[in-house]
Subunit: 503 residues, 2 copies
């Protein structure tokens, strides 16, 4: 075995004032020299004695560092007979390692390939109107009225002397008591046909959509999506590699006939029947039955995203599509994000009984199970009646804000039709042809408004332009001022003064 | 327009003692009759007056119910001129709806197709040794020593008068203060080269693996996995549709040469270099350099799962592979599950800088962002020194349990070699040929033990049989009793008494 004579000791920068022990500094210094190939295989190191003298540290320090380096395989040899950089280290980056034959070492590093699905996701980046929060932000519920004190009391209750059992992994489906509470709420308030065992707790409706996409759709499987439609659903479906088929919506919701023309056998159909995103109509009863019939004939699944149905200002809340489905083809997605608060990250999906096991497998692969603690708090929040009370309050508050917005729009921008104001926490203002919504929204963002352009919600060609205004998290005063600002932006972008009765 | 004369009023079951208002019961009853096609399109309903008399309810009740049904499109017609089931409802399930031509209505419902990836996940169901908790359960950290009081104090601190801002959606990458704290910890304790901006907070290492799989791998992309290896990683990779290439491990860890023989250009390589799961060896320095060289030449990514490196009983903790990587090819996955508690669902990944945006896109599609509240608590737990203190205590405790287990095994089953006891919270006992580990583990589960069979960790042919015993969540007393029980099971399964010095 050929080894090399010791050279000059390599330079290790010691920081004698550092909290880091000297042996640790020495260990890290030598490791770095070896990793970066400044010391090479079989190179002999100076004796611990001479190194100690050279570096003016105790010999114990050197011995400790070398011992660790030996344990990790960087050094070999015994004290007394010399210490060497390990023989087995690949000599340098260009020498092929044992048994691995390369056709030709590349001159430059190989390209850094990532998955195509991420390339598809990429164009839909966070836009100025989705960033932060602000007036008319679409994803902002009325957080200023959240009963923080009540919530905190429940948090404190569960953090004092908790049972050690709750520290373990939870059930993949979620906490039983929360699932019971949700099932009861859904049966009563949303006419969902379900049992607690069909409820899976997820971290936001986005995870519900991603799970459904992964369980129901193979790469390339066709899925109908409403067009215009919800970008979050498109992201989830793209993540699973599905083939998205944009299907137009009309006044009654998803146009089933048009969908059949485009792709007659979708594996799944994504819909927002209670309050279509972003145009806001409710899917009519006949269209619902037509959709269910069609799904039955084609063996399609339906993903029903019921993201804001708690907020309904006309009659009763519209009953869910899931409750009309006699064949268990609907995966129903609901969330606490809009009615409680987004940072909670709790939502739920209602599963056809024969899909429960498949969803458990996929959830296990995706993130095992939801966190236990917030579920305990939420179960009590619902069970003790705070949730029902809060919904009633929020409904009144959002109705007030909705009315303020509709009235402000009538005063300042009355030429522009308002769509979808019967439910939810946003409405959409339709723009006449030739006024570009994206430009208005970008300029409005500079003025601090967060208004989303309708045209961005199209997967196919944008057939309408419009402005999506969230009012859930915007006060009545902000609404009036915001609409005045918006009027100025619309005027400057449209190059003419829109017909207006208010000024 | 042809309509039908009113028939007998359909039977609606009223529950006059129910808390549900009568109009609501009537609404739901009629809706059900229409959805289930017991009333058909154009069928005329009795007048509200006669129905009120018939049902002995006020006419207002009937009017309210019909108004809602009209709003949802189930009914049409005006008060006074008769009320009808809406004309546009599809008549019955077998009549093709407008413009939708079916080749032939199927006689039986179409098959309920789900994604193939779930079929692949399916065989790896939860086995008896993974269910619940129990003696030797592999995923169970020492929860009995978790500083619940300290944690609760921090929870209470953050729940009193919280800033409304924390109720909003959080940053997709996670809370800045927590990411800073983790980056500092990783630089110091794990020799990870990183900045807080490279840290993404995830809900458990499983989500970290699933995200990495989705960002790095296309459907069909080859990925090397250690064989035997971690089933959770396989689940995550299968969820993304990757093609798994099992690569054997030897005493130095993943056998890079063997991998090159099987598949010379993997898109990614999954490794557990600090403590190989489940055999427990540490990847040698030369193998690490060989792996990094190989990845550089092939343009492969490396996913380093550093799941339990806090628990190290020999020298210093082994430095991470990520820290040796001069080319930013390593995605490093670490977790708080093993050192704090599993129900917390917090872990982190360290990303190459040029992948940050891609991971944000994928995270946005998968579940938007982590919940804010537990991150605030954990950031304080680390920042105030509780985390470092807890690690030191856990290390001592687990060392004590490890020693107890090694000693018990030596006394009662000393013919069986122990692997991987220098780190982590589990070790593996190797079985001689011909003793089936699965049978032992199933019988042990009947005795209340949770021991996982080594052979189940193979993706290819199981070349070794053995028993994986977790000791993190098992007390010294339970360990001694558990090993005695295990001895009985091993004896009965092997049909002979294993060589033993203890009895």
């Amino acid at each position: 075995m050929r080894t090399e004579p010791p050279g000059l000791p390599p330079v290790i920068n010691f920081d004698r004032k550092s909290a880091k022990p000297l042996y640790r500094q020495l260990y890290e210094g030598y490791r770095k020299l070896i990793v970066e190939r400044q010391l090479h295989a079989r190179q002999r190191l100076p004796s611990t004695r001479s190194l100690a003298a050279e570096l003016q540290v105790s010999r114990i320090t050197i011995l400790n560092a070398f011992e660790q380096l030996r344990a990790e395989g960087y050094l070999e040899g015994r004290i007394g007979s010399g210490t060497y950089v390990a023989r087995s280290l690949p000599d340098d980056l260009l020498t092929p390692t044992r048994r691995i034959a390369f056709r030709k070492p590349p001159d430059r590093p190989s390209p850094r390939l990532i998955a195509r699905r991420v390339q598809i996701l990429r164009p839909e980046k966070a836009e100025p109107w989705l960033k932060d929060s602000g007036v008319f932000h679409i994803g902002q519920p009325p957080l200023d009225r959240f009963p923080v004190q009540v919530w905190s009391r429940l948090v404190v209750r569960h953090s004092r002397n908790p049972d050690v059992g709750i520290l373990h992994y939870g059930d993949t489906m979620g906490l039983a008591s929360l699932r019971e509470a949700i099932a009861e709420y859904l049966r009563t308030a949303r006419a969902v046909r379900c049992d607690a065992k069909q409820i899976m707790i997820v971290s936001g409706s986005q995870q519900g959509l991603a799970l459904a996409a992964h369980v129901l759709l193979d790469p390339g499987s066709p899925v109908w999506v409403e067009d215009p439609g919800y970008f979050g659903a498109r992201h989830a479906l793209n993540l699973a590699g599905a083939r998205l088929i944009p299907v137009p919506v009309d006044d009654e919701g998803l146009d089933v006939s048009a969908g059949a023309d485009r792709c007659s056998r979708p594996r799944a159909i994504f819909v927002t029947p209670s309050h279509q995103f972003p145009l806001g109509m409710t899917m009519s009863a006949s269209r619902r039955l037509q959709l269910l019939d069609y799904a039955r004939r084609c063996g399609s699944w339906i993903i029903e995203d019921d993201y804001d149905s708690e907020y309904r200002y006309g009659n009763l809340p519209i009953a869910s599509l899931q409750g009309m489905d006699l064949e268990s083809r609907v995966v129903y997605v609901g969330t606490f994000t809009k009615i409680l608060f987004p940072a909670l990250r709790l939502a739920y999906i209602v599963l056809p009984t024969d899909l429960i096991q498949a969803f458990i497998e996929a959830r296990w692969a995706m993130d095992l199970c939801p966190p236990t603690f917030p579920q305990l708090v939420l179960a009590d929040f619902i069970g003790e009646g705070h949730f029902a009370r809060h919904i009633r309050r929020m409904r009144l508050l959002c109705r007030e804000r909705r009315n303020a917005l509709v009235n402000s729009l009538r005063r300042h921008l009355d030429a522009l039709p308002v769509l979808g104001d019967q439910a939810g926490m946003y409405l959409t203002v339709s723009l006449p042809n030739g006024i570009p919504d994206r430009e208005i929204c970008e300029r409005a963002a500079e003025e601090g408004l967060r208004i989303a352009p309708l045209s961005e919600c199209y997967l196919g060609e944008a057939r309408r332009h419009g402005l999506i205004l969230g009012y859930g998290g915007t006060s009545v005063e902000e609404i009036e001022a915001g609409v005045r600002t918006l009027r100025g932006v619309v005027r400057s972008c449209s190059g003419r003064r829109p017909q207006s009765s208010g000024s």
